[in-house]
């Protein structure tokens, strides 16, 4: 498989928008209470957004696989789940760095944080189940179902701050019951740019990991064929 233009273009666009987001984030004015800690907001929120996007992608691609039975949807579902776990970890790490100076603790077991940690169990389990099944079609089928059910995590995690009392703050950008942004408008613009950049990053990573998965699959198939031929020879 040759280096294709779309991947390169997507990578460049991602890099550029991330650069703009970093520049904007670093030049944004300080917050009146937390000072420069507010900058973590521009990484933490887009990270969480990306992880939602990726988990949603795993569910969607799983569904598409079940409908069409084309293996490429399964590869994208796998890619999406891995990206989701990666960015959940990044969300947690960024959040912990913010929480220590703000709350006074790296971690508390409130509903939002606990459900976030659970997503690593859910999608770690998803990846583990995949590694346990040898038959590619069966693996894709089982994974699609797990991925679809796992998508439930996204609304539960998003609503956790509303449904249960906790330490984590509620949404700054309110979407339910009238859209409202409860922060200085400049933070809104930086957040928007950073979120767009992370969305591009998701598309790029998905594509790269999808290509890798296709190559892995091609190799797996080739080795299987060699095994089969080897056995034919031994038997004949």
């Amino acid at each position: 498989m040759r280096q294709d233009r779309v991947t390169t273009g997507l990578g460049l666009a991602t890099l550029l928008s991330l650069g703009v987001a970093v520049a904007l984030g670093l030049s944004a004015p300080l917050d009146q209470n937390q000072g420069s800690l507010v900058r973590l907001f521009f990484v933490h929120v887009p990270s969480a957004w990306l992880s939602y996007l990726a988990y949603g992608g795993t569910g969607l691609f799983g569904l598409l696989y079940l409908l069409t039975r084309q293996r490429r949807w399964d590869r994208l579902a796998l890619a999406s789940a891995e990206i989701g776990v990666l960015f959940t970890v990044s969300t947690i790490v960024g959040g912990m760095l913010w929480a220590k100076p703000t709350w006074g603790a790296y971690w508390v077991w409130d509903a939002r944080l606990t459900t976030t940690a659970l997503s690593i169990v859910i999608y770690g389990g998803y990846l583990l189940i995949r590694s346990l099944i040898d038959d590619p079609d069966r693996r894709a089928r089982v994974a699609a179902v797990v991925g679809l059910v796992g998508t439930l995590y996204v609304p539960v995690n998003y609503m956790a701050v509303e449904w249960w009392r906790g330490v984590h703050q509620t949404q700054t950008l309110k979407l339910l019951g009238g859209i409202r942004f409860d922060a200085a408008p400049i933070y809104g613009w930086v957040l928007l740019v950073a979120t767009l950049a992370f969305t591009l990053l998701y598309a790029y990573l998905l594509r790269v990991r999808g290509i890798l998965a296709a190559r892995e699959e091609a190799r797996e198939e080739r080795e299987l064929m060699e095994d089969l031929q080897g056995m034919e020879v031994a038997r004949g």
Binding site: Q34, P101, T102, I120, G124, R165, V167, L228
Partner: protein, 156 residues
């Protein structure tokens, strides 16, 4: 596939040989560990992280003498930076309790700030062993030039 298929039992064996079991074993261990941590690390046994002072007044009979978390707003702060002794009232508007805590607190701790304390009631005073400062979902830039200069000086 048009290739003649071999015996169904032989194929998986041939392929299983190449597989390294280590990642799977490590993965299972990590997941079991994480689940156990989530199950036993969560002291509260409830998804509600804390009770409010008003709830405590209402459910006093059940909650008295048990370790618990109380959340509310901070009033009447008395802090001794030498001994790190901290006294304040936690309130939700209708009920209020005095809290005692010893230790350093986050820079954001101040009057009218949301706070969650963990500890036990001894009489009417709450003896806290853990203190977490809540931050609201609102982020704002300072309004005046003087405030901004203050902030920059603190950041240095």
């Amino acid at each position: 596939m048009t290739a003649p298929s071999p015996g169904p039992t032989r194929l998986p064996q041939a392929r299983r040989r190449r597989r390294n079991p280590l990642p799977t074993v490590l993965g299972v261990l990590a997941l079991v560990g994480l689940t156990a941590f989530l199950a036993f690390g969560n002291l509260g046994k409830s998804l509600e992280y804390f009770v409010t002072p008003t709830e405590y007044v209402q459910q006093r009979a059940e909650l008295e003498g048990r370790p618990l978390r109380i959340g509310g707003l901070v009033k009447a702060v008395q802090y001794n930076p030498q001994t790190l002794d901290l006294k304040f009232d936690v309130t939700d508007g209708s009920a209020s309790f005095p809290v005692q805590y010893t230790g350093a607190v986050s820079d954001l701790f101040k009057e009218d700030q949301g706070v969650v304390v963990r500890g036990e009631f001894q009489g009417d005073t709450f003896h806290a062993s853990e203190l977490v400062v809540k931050h609201s979902e609102e982020y704002n830039v300072p309004q005046t030039q003087a405030e901004l200069k203050d902030l920059l000086r603190q950041a240095e």
